[in-house]
Structures are given as C-alpha cells and as structure tokens.
C-alpha cells in the first residue's frame, strides 16, 4: 500500500526492460506486457490521487535514509493529477500505436517502439514525482533519449528533426546540470525541500539568480517556450505517427511543471529577484503566444499547424505561472490538463485520418465530416476548446488565467489572452472551413471494409477518451480547481 509511488514507475520500467527479451519468444508478448503494466500503473495512480486528496502530500524515501541523504519521491495534489493525466494519455497512445506498427524493421523495431513509449512514460512520471534535483536530471534524460528515438522513427525528415532536437536538448540538459551544480556548491544538498530551507537561510542572491537563469533556459528549451522553440515544430510534425499524440500532447508539459517547482517551491517568495524573473517569463510567454498563433495561421500542413499552435499553448501555461497569483497558477495547471487532452485529441484525429486516407494536407480534408463523423466530431470539440468556447475545458483554463492576470494587475497579459483567442479562432475556423465546406477529394480508403467502424477499435477508444476528457474538464472545472488550490496556496504564498 505504501509502495504505490514507486510501483507506478516500477511497473512500466520493468515491462520496458523485459520487453525486448520477451519479444524474442513471441513478437506480441512484449507489447502486451507493456500495455498491461501501463494499465496497472494507471489504476495505481488513481488510487494514489485519492490517497493524496484524503491525506495530503505523500513522501517516499528510497532505502529509508534520512531526507537530505536519500532520494525522495514527493507527490502533492498537483503532481498526482498530472501523473494520472500522463498515464491516461500514455495508455491510449500505446493502444493507438498498435495501428502504426512498422513491419519493415522486423520485431526489434516493432517492440522497440513500445519499449521507447513505455520509457517515455516512465521518464515523465518520474520527473513529476521526484523530489530530488539530480534524480530529475536522470529522468529528464530518459524522457529526452526516448523522445529523440521516437521522433527519429518518423522517416527521413524525422531523423534530421531528431538530430537537431538532440543537439538543442543536450545543451538544455547541460545547462540544467550547471544550474544544479551552482546551487549544490552553495548549499551542499540536492533534495528540493532541503534546498528551499537552505536557500531561505541566506545564500548569495547572485548565485541563485545565475542558477535560475540556467534552469529556466533549460526547461524553456525542453518545453519549447518562445525564444527556445526552434526545434519544436519539425520535431512534433515529423515524429513517429503512433507516438505523436504523447510527444506533442504531454512531453512539453512536464518541464513546465518542473519549472513551476523550481520557481515557486524551491526559490519561493523569499528570492529577491522573483518579480523580475516572473516578468521575464511573462514576456517570453506573451511573445510566444502571439508568435505561435501567427505562424500557425500560415501553415498548410495540419501537423505543422498544430505544432506551432503548441508553442502558443505552452505560452498560456507559463503565462498562468507568470501572473504569480494562485488563481493564475491554477489556471495554468488547468490549461496544462485541458491542452494535453486537446492536443493529443487533435493528433489522434489527424492520425486516424492519415491511417484511413493517407493525407495530412488541409486541402484534402473536404467532406471528412460525412466520411469520419466520430473523428471529425472530436477534432471540432478539441478545436473549439482551443479557441475557448464556454462549456469546454479550454475556456475555463483561460478564464482562470485571465482572472489571475487581472488580480495581479497585469492587464497586458489579459490583452494578449484575448488577442490570441481571436487568432486561434482564425486558424481553427480555417480548419472547420476545410472540413465542412471544401469539396470532396475522393481519396482512396486504406482501411479494409470488414472493419465495422470508420477506424479500428483502438483508435475509437482513444478518440472517445479524449472527447470525454475535454468535456469533463470543462464541466467539472470547479472540483479540479478545489483539488489543486490548497497545494498552490501553500506554495505560491
């Protein structure tokens, strides 16, 4: 019972390690074990979420050493919610990617892709739950390495995108390590809680500021915050089709959460230059929101458009953090949840269209609502949620961010929020126009007709889960905020 935090990481990790050996016996065995382990982790994470809501923060120390000496997993309400989100999207992505199995590379490539996905999930869950700064680095590297490989599996443009991402991502990881090194040289500890205690006891402000610059730059690269986003569009657009929903939907959110932890949990309000740093993050986010929306309007490839829109949407999350007020921060987290489901939903939709008709161009989408009603229904709901139409998740997250911005008297942020919603509306209505108005291109159907639905069952499941999640996050936004708020109040005050 008390081992739940580690079991959530351990089950997919063990399955991933054994997947290659099992697939030597039979090529399906490894895959099935991986999917079953992620499902088990999902169940455990829901139990953990309930436990955290009932009894408060959970701390799990490896090897039963005292806190600053051993590695700690520290799970509060926010991280518990994010872990559930990662595992839901990870599970449906694993099921979804069964339709994209690559046959040409033999079983190594096939089960290797599942191992990579499982390790990507392990890395992200670990980054969310860890309470140790160096442990975070190791999980970050697991996430990035599996990310590079999954992006590189997406064909010949994917290789170049992955190589460029690898160069930039390694600079980011090195900067993170440098920041940790500077903090370690000042305090001699690596535990986040202990680091907060040591920093509040008075450490040279100069050192803290330099370390925070390096750390924000590192996480900025990893989540594609505006000036560091050069690698992102081609990497998201050319990633392996089966894993793209997970990569585009979740991979950018976890560094954002890690950055939140650094700014608010480790540094906290005692840090003298806190307002200046929040202002810098806010300026980056505002530029990113406008830049991403404008670039997304110019794209004709659906994947590129969604990738540029991710630059803008990450900006909303960090904008919520930059307001510095609890309402704004909660709005950022709500947007993190909602956007994860919206973006992976849109990529599930494009994946299904690609699987059926083999095209990703916007012009080819004509008449798609008649041919694939379920998929286009999901894409419409997700896109409306992106624009911010009231009963859906995207509206409420923007509402809370706006409230936070107004509460802390950052009216420029409010202005950017409104402008960018209009820009979102422009490019998503362009998508609607193509879907509903354009002429039918009569593309050949690539799915055999004995399948009863428009797409195989695993795609239908993924689409239905995302559809429900977007609506439920919108309808039940108050309970979610009530879960997140106590933790944010504790941290952000």
């Amino acid at each position: 019972m008390s081992n739940i935090p580690v079991l959530i990481v351990l089950l997919p990790l063990s399955a991933a390690l054994l997947c290659m050996a099992l697939s030597l016996i039979h090529w399906r065995l490894g895959r099935d074990v991986v999917i079953a382990s992620v499902a088990a982790s999902l169940v455990l994470s829901v139990i953990q979420l309930k436990d955290v809501i009932d009894h408060g923060t959970v701390s799990y120390v490896f090897g039963k050493y005292k806190i600053p000496y051993g590695i700690e997993f520290r799970i509060d309400a926010i991280s518990a919610v994010i872990i559930v989100m990662i595992l839901i999207i990870g599970f449906i992505t694993l099921l979804f990617s069964m339709s994209f199995e690559v046959r040409d590379g033999g079983k190594v490539k096939n089960s290797g892709a599942y191992t990579m996905l499982a390790l990507l999930i392990v890395g992200m869950v670990g980054m969310t739950s860890t309470g140790d700064m160096f442990n975070l680095y190791v999980f970050l590297e697991i996430t990035s390495l599996s990310g590079y490989c999954l992006i590189a599996l997406g064909g010949s443009r994917g290789i170049v995108a992955a190589f460029r991402y690898m160069l930039v991502g390694t600079i980011a990881a090195t900067f993170y390590l440098l920041g940790v090194g500077i903090l370690y040289s000042q305090t001699g500890t690596l535990n986040m809680e202990d680091m907060h205690y040591m920093l509040s006891r008075g450490v040279s402000t100069e050192a803290q500021a330099v370390a925070l610059v390096f750390i924000i730059a590192a996480f900025g690269v990893k989540m594609a915050l505006f000036p560091f986003n050069g690698w992102q569009p081609s990497a998201y657009a050319h990633a392996n089709a089966g894993s793209r929903p997970l990569i585009a939907g979740v991979m950018g959110k976890i560094p954002a959460y890690a950055m939140f932890r650094y700014i608010f949990c480790i540094y906290g309000s005692e840090f003298r230059f806190m307002d200046e740093f929040l202002l810098i993050v806010g300026i980056f986010s505002c530029c990113g929101i406008i830049y991403g929306s404008v670039r997304a309007m110019a794209q004709t490839d659906l994947r590129k458009m969604l990738a540029y829109s991710s630059v803008a949407q990450i900006g909303y999350i960090t904008l919520g953090f930059a307001t510095g007020s609890p309402v704004g921060i909660v709005g950022g987290f709500l947007h993190m949840l909602a956007h994860a489901f919206m973006k992976s939903g849109l990529f599930f939709g494009t994946g299904a269209i690609r699987q059926k008709y083999g095209s990703m161009k916007m012009e080819d989408l004509g008449y798609i609502y008649k041919k694939m009603p379920l998929t286009s229904g999901l894409m419409v709901v997700a896109a409306l949620s992106m624009v911010g139409i009231p009963p859906l998740g995207g509206f409420f997250s923007k509402w809370y961010i706006g409230m936070g911005a107004a509460g802390s008297h950052h009216l420029v942020y409010l202005f950017v929020l409104v402008i960018s919603s209009l820009l979102n509306a422009v490019y998503f209505f362009k998508l609607f126009e193509k879907m509903f108005m354009a002429r039918d291109k009569e593309l050949p159907d690539r799915i055999p007709s004995e399948v009863a639905q428009e797409v195989p069952w695993n795609m239908v499941l993924a689409i239905v889960v995302c559809f429900l999640a977007i609506i439920l996050i919108g309808v039940f936004n108050v309970p979610i905020v009530n879960v997140l708020m106590p933790t944010v109040m504790e941290v952000g005050s």
Partner: protein, 129 residues
C-alpha cells in the same frame, strides 16, 4: 600559502579552474553554433558536457583530503574528499555516452539518406520533399 603571493595568483589558485571550465563550455557552444558539419557539432556537444563534468569535480575537492576510500586509522570527514560529485558525474558520463551513441546512429541514418552530413546539403535535400 606564502605571503608574497600576489593577488592574481591567489585568485588563480582559488578560482582559476572555473575560468578553464567556463572557457571549455563556451568553446563547445561556439562550435555547436558555428560548425556546419553535424559530426563536428556532435564533438562540440561532448566538449560542452565534459566542461560541466569538470565543473562538478572542481567543488568535490578538499585541501588535505585523500580519495574517498576508507583507510584504516584515518577517521573523520576532513580527511576525505567529497564523494557525492564524483558519484553524480559517473551518471553524467554514462548519460553523455548514451546521447553520443544515439547521435552517431542518427548521423549514420542521415548520411545514408541524404548522402552527406553537411548542414547545407541536408537543408537542400529536405526542400526536395
């Protein structure tokens, strides 16, 4: 330390090594930005990672400390250097090895697909899609 040491040599003895590691770091980043050959970029990436490893090892040192393996009769923390940065950097070295391995595999694929690892050729090839 003798008294007739000038300020600069005191500074070099105390902090000089940080200049070297910072120089190595900037050298690596400079190479990654300016080199047009992807192999050279990969080498510069390694140089940068090594710089951070040196940086960590710098503050693992302790005057009068020996290697962190227990010697009989020598008790007390003052006699041994800090073992933690060394342990951490073992991890960082392994991570950099893994990244380099994946990078080399990617380069092999790029070379096979595009026939070159020069950035200009690759951009030209990408536009042909």
């Amino acid at each position: 330390m003798t008294n007739n040491m000038s300020g600069i040599s005191v500074f070099l003895a105390d902090k000089g090594i940080y200049f070297l590691t910072a120089f190595l770091l900037v050298l690596g980043i400079y190479g990654m930005i300016t080199c047009k050959n992807y192999m050279k970029k990969l080498i510069c990436m390694n140089i940068m990672q090594v710089a951070v490893i040196f940086f960590f090892l710098c503050f693992g040192q302790k005057n009068g400390g020996t290697i962190p393996v227990q010697v009989t009769g020598l008790m007390g923390a003052r006699h041994y250097i800090n073992p933690l940065p060394h342990g951490l950097m073992l991890t960082a070295i392994v991570v950099s090895l893994g990244t380099t391995g994946v990078g080399l595999a990617l380069l092999t694929r790029i070379k096979e697909k595009y026939g070159s690892i020069e950035e200009d050729d690759i951009i030209k090839g990408e536009n042909k899609f």
